[in-house]
Symmetry: D2
Subunit: 251 residues, 4 copies
């Protein structure tokens, strides 16, 4: 068996040289934002100005969700067992599965397939109901209206992402709430799914977007655990209390 | 034992509300870049313009290093075993240890302690040599001069980060290469260590910077493995070949 | 939301007391073998003598497969990056996915469902072929006849496990090889699947059996890497060479 | 750089053949217990009868500790996020760090170094106190007397392991409790450390023993979570209740 089949289109490495998708890392350091670089490495090309702006918002939106997510619980638990920061962050990322952040991938897949098939919201909802399936990306454990979804959709609108995937996502919300008292708002997973679909990303990158966005949050939690808490303490999702800066405005 | 001791200063969560270090997530989505948000969540305050610009470059610099790093090998191997994207990325992050990316943390610690103690480069090198220790953050397996270090230091200079940590890092290079033919350039780990120290970050965040910066690269590699390669293939660090876009310039 | 819903039927813990599935740990230490205890904790009851003997063989069979499996590559790579033994072993277990060890679970599920449905080998193979699916648990990358399968089936026979799941697994091999030159022997995954199904284990424990059996092998590889190799070395699946004890016989 | 330096002394693999430390896997399946095989793969030689018996007890002793350990919390949390059994077990193993199971390694190291140096209990305790260090392997969060330690030491006595490491461990307990009301019993980590040191295992295998022993417990917890609980539930270490079989006796 040959090992020479490891072909990659991502990065070229040679002595004194490093090029990501063809661009020199030195130029990238001098001229690109991190979000632009994330777009480049995932998509294979530089973003337009609108794509770059949207990318910033997408990544900002999921940076953290406080003490409640299971990924933060797992990450802090691993650190508390006497392990390194990278092992703890890895445990957090391990936790991001089909039921935690996975709705991005599932929702994006449905939106992308429906748009290709020319299916409208009513038909799609009927088909899902007939199959006994829930539509992922709608509803939230904590938020009746997820503040992040609106902010993302407004930004998408400003950036000119107003195509079929986003229109379908909006139509689905109306359709899902029709004839029921239950609130089924587009949540942040659903909003990200709609926007990345509109931007032409493969649905299989859904979890990847969440992981990239959430990693700084995991690092912050693990660092806080490391530098302020005792090892092997009793950790649970209910006892936490916020003791950080008071509400303030970006100047 | 009480569970109520989970105090956090990072993020406040309530129904319909989410504030990171005091700032509303909706405002952050509308107005901040991802790198600014990373600075905010790690440091607890918004970056100045210079800090924000530096942050972009820091994160861009480590986004990927092609097929050679062990973290990419581990991540692709886990995917190839028939696992999910998040498990594969977690394996990559698990690999980022004391010998892979760990020099940032080690070098930053030494720089920060030396600056506090007022130790100069010559004294520091003598002390390390007497203890039989190498100075982390200098030298590279592949690059004689690491192109990323220069680009980062130039950017730091432009942004006005020219203080004692960066001066010490530069002086150390001269000192380490004195009386030897061996090239011991400041590598990218060392440059990041010098810059984040200058920016006032705790050395214990060293691995965290590398993990945040490298996660998009890991996602790209895992996605490429998932969508273009066969499961359970023979993976090694030597057989890879770059087959992506030709060299090109940022317009 | 209440946290009191963490009900477990596995182990009772109190000050000075520890009981697994109702049995005192002190009695277990004094009187049970490790394999008996594994049976107990997975099945909820003590094994018969035949079940205990079979359990030993099942776990022995998968303890290691040398340098070739991706799980050993990932585990040694993580250690080589400068990480702890537990992080490295965790990376190995992360690698054990649908394409690596996963055939146990997949094969056991098919066998269990076919036996419940009263489906015979010929019908099952026709159904799989019509659906364009391969039968998991048959064929091997390296072994034309997997030495472990025969040894396990002989042991099963001696222990009196000769029921419908094992008969179906044997009939499937004949059926799959009918009219083809290709060898599709029952491999070790398939043999384990047949035996644990015969012993009444849920197919969802398939990967669990492999993980329990392989963990000592992973520990041995990680320990060998730690104590005999340099950090950050180039690791691949092809360059390894066996340099251990010569062939010998159990006295 | 050459990849041919992957030398291993563990397992020889060839078509139709598999030998662990020189012994054919087929003979091992037919004749060895799992615990004997674990000894073989870690030590490089077959155990005597006494070593084999001791090995069973060592592995049985740490198979599980109910809902309280952080490793079970992390493992169940990862499963609850919608991930596979192997990812969840990996998270559990990730948690086993310097503060959770790590005392085996730390205690074994101290015992082995003290025996080599001919240091007695009183001197060792004085030296640790002078350095402001605690002796690992003594004391327990929950148990005043750890029932597992006594059972292990009794078994060790029966098996003839009565050498200097075990004598030192016993003497240390008296020494540590001298002049204090605090109970500092040898806990299960300390007992394992003493016994494996007596059996000639390298202290760097300490965490490995715990990982091998605990993996079946992790599999049982993850399987229970998977098959009986809802995804994304609130998991904490305090709300659990034992609802399994009543106390019973091994017949």
């Amino acid at each position: 068996m040959s090992e020479t089949n490891w072909t990659t289109s991502i990065t070229k490495t040679a002595a004194g040289e490093l090029r990501v998708r063809g661009y020199a890392i030195t130029d990238m350091i001098a001229r690109l934002s991190f979000a632009q670089t994330v777009f480049l490495i995932l998509k294979g090309q530089l973003p337009t100005e609108a794509e770059a702006r949207m990318m910033e918002g997408l990544l900002v939106s999921s940076i953290d969700h406080g003490i409640t997510p299971p990924s933060n619980l797992a990450a802090r638990t691993v650190l508390s067992g006497g392990n390194s920061l990278n092992a703890a962050v890895a445990a957090g990322i391990l936790t991001i599965g089909d039921s935690h952040g996975g709705a991005i991938e599932q929702c994006a897949r449905i939106l992308q397939e429906a748009v290709v098939a020319g299916e409208d919201a009513a038909t799609l909802v009927r088909r899902l109901k007939a199959a006994g399936k829930r539509m992922p990306g709608y509803g939230h454990r904590i938020h009746a209206r997820d503040p992040r979804s609106n902010a993302l959709l407004e930004l998408a609108d400003q950036c000119g992402f107003t195509g079929p995937h986003i229109r379908l996502a909006a139509a689905l919300m109306e359709e899902l709430e029709r004839g029921t008292d239950k609130k089924l708002p587009l949540n942040v997973d659903g909003a990200i799914a709609a926007v990345i679909s509109e931007m032409g990303f493969d649905w299989r990158l859904g979890k990847g977007f969440f992981i990239i966005a959430r990693t700084p949050g995991l690092v912050a939690h693990v660092f806080e655990e490391w530098t302020t808490q005792k090892p092997m303490r009793k950790l649970g999702p209910l006892g936490g209390e916020y003791a950080g800066p008071a509400d303030r405005e970006i100047p």
